[in-house]
Amino acid sequence: DTAVSQTPKYLVTQMGNDKSIKCEQNLGHDTMYWYKQDSKKFLKIMFSYNNKELIINETVPNRFSPKSPDKAHLNLHINSLELGDSAVYFCATRTTDTQYFGPGTRLTVL
């Protein structure tokens, strides 16, 4: 039974399009994250949601918007996609000391 799931696993799209990536967790954790792993392999935090409130936003362009319809979901919407948005995006949840990651979504912008 998957603890943190993401859909889709792969996403290929054209520049300028709007797309969404979904994340669902069944761990009951209060805090969820979105990370971006770019071509240089750095894992960088993008957003954190705690009880449906955005608590950090690490200088991410406002084309990216997280939306949490409920505690178990944190979706990532991206408007006007750019080439530089190509990366692997990971959703994660958090306990006190540990984070649990989803399998990742590889986004390719052509």
Binding site: T31, Y33, L43, Q99, G104
Partner: protein, 110 residues
Amino acid sequence: DQQVKQNSPSLSVQEGRISILNCDYTNSMFDYFLWYKKYPAEGPTFLISISSIKDKNEDGRFTVFLNKSAKHLSLHIVPSQPGDSAVYFCAAKSQGNLIFGKGTKLSVKP
């Protein structure tokens, strides 16, 4: 500016020998450190952690050592197995969030 550094992008070890993965950090306020393991096309999975009040934590074949004065931690895997081949990320906890290193790709050869 990288606060968590893994200076070796790759490491190759013979099966049965010890693997030593290194990590350096710059912020003395970090109070908790974690190691994650990542297979291709999967999300990072938690491996082992250590609090800043300890200098060693052991879990089976995996041991993490922390040298606070040197701001250095290392992960020892002994004996190494081919299934350990993966990318290993070091992470430091800061105000509840994790800051990741760039990762070290470990290859364990039979």
